[in-house]
Amino acid sequence: MPSAAEIAWLIPVLPLVGAIATGLGLIAFNSTTNRMRKPVAIGLLTCLGAATVLSYAVLIDQLSGGLPVEHLFVWASAGSFSLPMGYVVDPLGAVMLALVTTIALLVMIYSHGYMAHDKGYVRFFTYLALFSSSMLGLIISPNLLEIYVFWELVGMCSYLLVGFWYDREGAAHAAQKAFVVNRVGDFGLLLGILGLFWATGSFDFHGIADGLLVAIQGGTVPAWAAITLCLLVFMGPMAKSAQFPLHVWLPDAMEGPTPISALIHAATMVAAGIFLVARLEPLYSQFPFVGLVIAVVGTITCFLGASIALTQMDLKKGLAYSTVSQLGYMMLAMGCGAPVAGMFHLVTHAFFKAMLFLGSGSVIHAMEEVVGHEPILAQDMRLMGGLRKKMPITSRTFFIGCIAISGIPPLAGFWSKDEILGQAFSTFPILWAFGFLTAGMTAFYMFRLYFLTFEGTFRGNDKDLQASLLRASGKSLEEGEEELIGHPSGSVHESSWPMTLPLVVLAVPSVFIGLLGTPWNSKFGFLLDPAEAAAMATSFDWGEFLLLAGASVLISSAGIVLATFAYYLQRLDLGKQIASRFPLLNTFLVKKWYLDDINEKIFVQGSRRLAREVLEVDAKVVDGVVNLTGILTLGSGEGLKYFETGRAQFYALVVFGGVIALVALFGVLGQ
């Protein structure tokens, strides 16, 4: 019996086989396959379930001291160049495998409920399995190039899933934007990988790190070039993990079905960037400047995401900006040279953010009964309120998620976020200050979301408000009204068990998993980096810990208290107050720091204009010269149009005859 790590390659292959089988079925026997919902769902769940079991076996194997396993084969070769591919299983990978399979499995169960009435149920499950397979492949990739391969594949799945409801204009644009912005990051990643390959002759993580060190010492590669290459590679994680300024795609990606937002755009794919930076730790740790850049980018992202989340009225977009902000925390940890802390936050965040997103999906699903399948209405918190009594499981798990992300001990978010802030405090105190401030903002906006959604009175039946929201979003009123008539107002109720079960399951780790990473005895740290964890445990100082932790708990509590006053007790109308006193700040936040506008004006419109101008040149100048030559040589006022039927055949014949004649002539002359 081979050990679990030896057959780890099966983990991505299992869901892939399922996805291929269903995908071929969809192409070849579309209507039949679409009707076979149950068999497809059970089949894919089995594939993913088996992968999950295997992943946990691998994790247990690594926990009990199993050695990392690596298998390679030559994938491509030309001349002296050969490119190995294969798989590697180490503690970092094992943790990610278990995390991704768990959440993917729960999301798949959830989708059975969420997508129950959707025509594309089977297609959705196929995409889910395809995504899981690509993501798992990314995790076990042994070198940068293989990571790039799966990196693109998860991007493709994200494109397909964001654009899943392809009749929606918004989804179409969001899907394209997600792919293109990610390609901007991949542009850097690809150049960086190629450059590192040029400098070191290797794609392997350790090979690159060692090779680059040797190359710099040997003088073949200047230090500035090495730093440039590192930063180019970092562009990939910046796009994928939604770091400033390439974060613009993530909030738009919320156009996709909510289970996808939970799986891809909160828990797993967006974490791939963090994961890659952790993999590249041996490389990045050589250059303090690169670490500084990463930390600064992370801090800006963290602060920006939280500040925009303060004003969001769309439930999912609020959570999306929260994700941006939390990813910023993780990147900050990476920049501080504390990959273990970053990875720990990745894990805890994956659990509670997936739960929050699935909870929001449950809410939206319930709201659609009242306001119809119009995301502008179903996701707007101004139409929610008072859902706690109607949706007890959803509201309770959402509440747990809010406490967890706010960093209240002993829930998961406290331990991981506090560790990052502690690391930042000792490395970059200024960046710590921003992170600290963000912690307060996080608690505030999360409880704002909670109170607006679940407390107060239900506002969903307010037709005037619905109409004004539709008008504000630029949709025509008639269209909206039609849709309202199409969906007579039902009532809000708790979702079915496939949707609530994953919420409950996810609540467990959201509460307890943090205890695995206590700074004085971090089991998580001992798995990933035993030396580092031991050093941390010995140098642990209760006084310092209590001071820092106390401060962050204090600011989080302040945020919660403020939110309670403003949105639960409704003692002060914070929105209006801010808007009247600081109109500039308010518009700045509502406009999302104007980054979307800048992106639209400069890049989208700019590229369109440039393309049009080039086409103009092509048609008028380049082709014009050709046509002009035609006119001159043929002596015709109408150019090539004159040169119609018959002539060209004649011309070709002349050429051909000429050839024969020349051949004959030279033949004679040659004798």
Binding site: A76, S77, L153, A172, F179
Partner: protein, 550 residues
Amino acid sequence: MIEIGLLPTFGSVGTLGVDALGNDFPWLSLSIFFPIIGALIVPFVPDEGEGKQVRWFALVIALATFLITVAAYLKGYEPSQEGLQLAERVDWLPDLGLVWAVGADGLSMPLILLTSFITALAVLAAWPVSFKPKLFFFLILAMDGGQIAVFAVQDMLLFFLAWELELLPVYLLLAIWGGKKRQYAATKFIIYTAGSSLFILLAALAMGFFGGGQPNFEFINLAEKSFGTGFQILCYAGLLIAFGVKLPIVPLHTWLPDAHGEATAPVHMLLAGILLKMGGYALLRFNAQLLPEAHTYFAPLLIVLGVVNIIYAALTSFAQRNLKRKIAYSSISHMGFVLIGIGSFSVLGTSGAMLQMISHGLIGASLFFLVGATYDRTHTLQLDEMGGVGQNMRIMFALWTVCSLASLALPGMSGFISELMVFAGFVTDEAYTLPFRVVMASLAAVGVILTPIYLLSMLREIFFGKENVQLTSQNKLVDAEPREIYIIGCLLVPIIGIGLYPRLMTDTYSASIEALVKRDLVAMKSVGRPVPSIMKKGLLTPALFSAPEF
């Protein structure tokens, strides 16, 4: 000047006449003449006028040709050998120095297989053709033989004849079955290609007569002649124009959007799948292999032109509102990678160029077929009039998505690995200075961003959005039929196969590419540097083109 004796053996020297497996069955002549004979029988096939019988006959002939080329590959071709295989040589007109010499090495064999494969699928794609079906299938089959001849002949004069012969079927296919502006497009095509191919004739004659004595145009003899550097440069320039029109290289490309824009789907598949590859093949065969010294002078220009192709064509494609022309420009953009690969002086890059040709042959054919199939339903090619089509044609939408993703070089499909090989080969090779490589690779990588922009915008504008009432009221938007799914399926098998395991394809030609690049490197060593003197005074700083150090 270099001593030819010092060169690594040119492909065929030494192995000519001795077949790899001692098999002297004339496989290649058979695969050239079989479809041509089939074409000559087409007029006598009993048919009721709608093409219902003749199309079956054509399909059988095309499939049989494909099987013959496969048999040739399996029986008489040994991939690990660099030399000429399956060689046949018959004196045709000895007085004129004209011989019937065919053979296949790593440069030819994959393209011969590609030709017969795509042609068979094109015949299947031409199933609905009902206007003058006999003439149509006659031309397609004649073209099949002509195309294989272009890749198989080993004599430059013969090559020129095959090159010219293949123009006539294309011209007629364009002019008779094309769209509204077919006459204009066909005329433009013939003037461009026939005009530029005069350079091939001039170069062939010059090279054949060089050194006096009995003229001889066979590649092996041409390879042994020691042309002067100036002579090489003259020939190279002429050939570059001729093949640059075909590939095409910006700014010699303007015939292509017109021709591709007017062609019907099957012709379109052949144009994109095979005809463009003639340009790339000929650049490798003549410019890089027979004129290695001139190649060291021109290679930097090829790189620059390749980058221009990638960016310029990607931008024009983005702005195009006509679907066919959009994809036509995307073909030009993809051919830029072939140019960079050929100019890279590295085995990896040149291998990548070869793979890019094969890969684009498959992907381009699939996209153009889909364009045709979509046009049959929507009766419009204007993107502004489409939109929301995905509601009615789900499978078509899926096929489009897969092929577009293949075209934008998604890993797991052939386009990714070929572009990656070109990039990696160019960047890691020491033939160019570091700044030149950095600038060119960065610019070429901009294509990585531009390609998804125009391809995904295109998908969005055709398929996404609410159901298109205006279109559905006038046309019946039926979903893809089994024949169409089958054609795309056949094309996707090699696309994904190569993407998953590229050695399936690269192993069939890597020995020949290695020999070719070695020859170029020896020439570069003797010339010293790939610095064209004309470019020293040009816009680009000379530092970009300074020499590699040996």
